[in-house]
């Protein structure tokens, strides 16, 4: 069924100089030049509103607007809902979407406010006083042990050292481009943090960034071998992802080309399928087995992270993981991004990270096992303020991916699954990949993180806190606004005014 396009291309003909940049830049082939009439024409039905043409038009002759040609208004059956039904009626297909859940579900970060010192407890100025943002992720000892000669036993479980409590979250080589991975790897190295390979293996060019790399092992085990495991600073077992809890990954064959296929070790053009479960993990005991097989293979030198999606029973699951031998738990909330996920799963499965994080931190404290593991919080951490709130709710560090993509040029058009990313990020087409210059991409990521680090210091200083460690789990620094008793109870915070 044909329906009127979602977006309209508005071209100001008096400004258009027929340079045809828009035509060359649009991988969706929206624009073309009509030589007879000497005008630029467009097929809006192909437009995904990625803003590439708008941004590059030298005379600002273009804008993309939401079409006002809508179906009859209906608060129950929205335009989107109806068109999804049309699409499925036409194809019989499962709806596939990209990036995080766009629906207006509660964002608890925005209902939490941060404290500051006034009069009785002086704030600290980060411009003149040292502020510690370094964190170490891994098991921490519960008590002091001494050697037979009385000296302190200083052996520690392996730790991941980060200059600030933010890392770039898993995005596989395949779902994103070589240049995007290069940008992330270089920025992480310069910043003294880590990026994450995702489940597609590690391109041989990037082994040199290993000290700032987390290598992921997912159910498809793509690109997993001894050298890969040893290349990184930590190993992450991916059990689940916030955008699609309970299902596996699926890289379409169109993206499994060239070095992507080689790195994953699958034939070119073949779909890369990660099964929903790890087929050797049906229990915490089985998880423990994978954790220890990885530790044995790498001689106990690297911390092992277990990444799970935030789901209803997350506190109990995290308790199990904390007893599995894992060093770090990464929890991914339901607004986390993805390169492709079934729409219904992305938009309806999982729980908000804020509630999951608070519940997990509390549960591990109650059970006396909080020091067994560090906690990483991911799934739509959008700003330094979100980071500070996450730390105060109990996280040791945060994962960001959507924000990192935005820094590299993403315009959040949510079309990654098409493989035609005009910004050179979520694509494998060489002509598109080269649009992302890793020199610029990495610099922009460094800029973003540097800015956040300053903001984190200012927010901490305002609270009179000079070390991130003193902020972790410090929920007295948070207050809720417009939250119910139950929400406040789960978050473990008081209402503003209390």
């Amino acid at each position: 069924m044909n329906f009127y396009p979602e977006f309209e291309v508005v071209r100001n003909d008096s400004r258009c100089i027929r340079c045809r940049v828009c035509e060359r830049q649009c991988a969706n082939e929206v624009h073309w030049f009509d030589a007879d009439g000497k005008v630029m024409l467009s097929d809006e039905s192909k437009c995904v509103n990625c803003q590439r043409c708008v941004t590059l038009c030298p005379t600002r002759a273009l804008k993309i607007v939401k079409s006002d040609c809508r179906l009859r208004e209906n608060a129950n059956y929205s335009d989107q809902t109806i068109k999804e039904i049309y699409r499925q009626a036409e194809t019989g297909g499962v709806l596939l979407s990209s990036m995080g859940n766009p629906n207006p579900l509660p964002v608890y970060w925005d209902k939490i406010l941060i404290n500051a010192s006034q009069v009785t407890n002086p704030p600290i100025d980060p411009l003149r006083e040292p502020m510690e943002t370094r964190v170490f992720l891994g098991k921490k000892p519960d008590h002091i042990t001494r050697n037979p000669d009385g000296s302190l036993d200083t052996t520690l479980s392996p730790q991941l050292s980060l200059s600030m409590p933010v890392m770039f979250s898993a995005m596989s080589y395949g779902s994103i481009s070589y240049n995007a991975h290069a940008s992330l790897a270089r920025a992480a190295t310069e910043l003294g943090i880590c990026y994450n390979t995702g489940e597609g293996g590690l391109h041989e060019d990037f082994y040199k960034y290993g000290k700032n790399t987390i290598v992921q092992v997912a159910s498809g085990r793509f690109g997993v071998h001894k050298d890969y495991l040893e290349a990184g600073a930590a190993i992450e077992i991916k059990m689940g992802q916030g955008a699609k809890p309970g299902i596996g990954g699926h890289l379409p064959g169109t993206k499994a080309v060239g070095d992507v296929a080689k790195t994953r070790m699958i034939p070119e053009g073949s779909d890369a399928i990660s099964p929903a479960p790890h087929h050797d993990i049906y229990s915490i005991e089985d998880l423990r087995q994978l954790v220890y097989s990885l530790k044995e293979a790498t001689e106990y030198r690297l911390p092992v992270i277990v990444k799970v999606a935030a789901v209803h029973n997350i506190a109990a699951i995290a308790s199990g993981i904390a007893r599995s031998g894992a060093d770090i738990i990464a929890i991914d909330g339901f607004r986390g991004g993805t390169g492709a996920a079934p729409t219904r799963i992305r938009d309806n499965v999982g729980i908000p990270i804020e509630l999951a994080l608070a519940a997990v931190d509390q549960r591990l404290r109650d059970e006396g096992i909080r020091n067994n593991v560090s906690i990483i919080c991911g799934g739509s951490v959008r700003s330094a303020a979100d980071v500070v709130k996450a730390i105060a709710l109990g996280a040791d560090a945060c994962y960001i991916a959507t924000a990192a993509c935005l820094a590299m040029g993403c315009h959040l058009c949510r079309s990654c699954h098409t493989g035609k990313c005009n910004w050179g990020i979520a694509t494998q087409r060489p002509d598109l990949v080269k649009r992302l210059n890793p020199d610029i991409g990495s610099q922009r990521l460094v800029n973003l993180m540097t800015a956040w680090r300053h903001e984190i210091k200012e927010l901490m200083g305002g609270m009179g806190i000079n070390s991130i460690e003193s902020l972790r789990g410090n929920r007295l620094m948070l207050r809720g606004v417009g939250l119910t008793e139950k929400e406040l109870q789960i978050l473990g915070i008081s209402h503003a005014g209390e």
């Binding site: 997993v224 070790m265 699958i266 779909d271 399928i273 099964p275 050797d280 087995q289 220890y292 044995e296």
Partner: protein, 240 residues
């Protein structure tokens, strides 16, 4: 190096194997220690007794030979080397195996060869002398799995649901596979002389390890199963 491991835990055994410069290692009295020789390369490890779960996980070139059975996840994600089991093995053998060879004299449990993969000349091979449990070659993405059905069990060569989600690689079953149900996205046919020529060297290796004649083994009806297309799920989705 010869080591009695009957009172040692897996981490001690692996640590001692890492420490020795000896290439040949014999472990006696093995009683189900896990992760033996995980990630190792360049050694020959003879295991007397029963090897525990994840024997030779991430194996990177070492050759492992066991005198008895091995448990679950033999050769999990192995990259290179060989595992030879003089007995039966448990579930999920060769999970995501990407290189090297596994030879099993007896039977395999559930999900053997799940998500095996291959790239160009790097092709993993698993040869099972007996029969396998359900879900053989599930999600298989590459490599060669050969099941010979040499054990006289009276049961079919593979139990239920073989090849679910298979999207690459090649499965050989020494059977006409009458009555065995395969999913719609795979193609089953009688093996040709060329097909059998492709696996002759692996069957010969099998016979070197466990005895028997490759000619006799190959002089039987084999069924070959391969996926119809590399993109079995493409039609399932519509861009939203």
């Amino acid at each position: 190096m010869e080591l009695n491991v009957s009172t040692l835990g897996f981490s001690e055994v692996n640590e001692q194997m890492r420490q020795t410069a000896d290439q040949e290692i014999t472990l006696n009295g093995c009683i189900g220690q896990r992760f033996l020789a995980a990630g190792t390369s360049g050694k020959y490890v003879k295991i007397n007794g029963i090897a525990g779960n994840a024997l030779g996980a991430y194996l990177n070139g070492t050759v492992i030979e066991t005198s008895g059975n091995a448990q679950d996840a033999v050769g999990d994600t192995m990259n290179a080397g060989e595992i030879i089991v003089h007995g039966n093995i448990g579930d999920a053998a060769g999970y995501a195996m990407r290189g090297g060879k596994i030879f099993v004299q007896g039977n395999a449990g559930y999900r053997a060869g799940i998500h095996m993969k291959a790239y160009k000349e790097k092709v993993p091979v698993m040869v099972i002398g007996g029969r396998t449990g359900s879900f053989l070659a599930e999600y298989q993405a590459g490599g060669i799995i050969i099941v010979l059905g040499l054990t006289e069990s009276g049961k079919p060569i593979v139990s239920n649901f073989p090849c679910t989600g298979m999207h690459g690689g090649k499965l050989y079953l020494r059977s006409d596979c009458e009555g065995i149900h395969f999913p719609h996205q795979v193609h089953k046919r009688k093996a040709t002389a060329e097909d059998l020529a492709e696996i002759r060297s692996f069957v010969e290796e099998f016979c070197e390890h466990f005895g028997g004649s490759a000619d006799e083994i190959l002089n039987a009806e084999f069924t070959v199963v391969m996926p119809d297309s590399g993109n079995p799920y493409k039609q399932m989705y519509v861009a939203n």
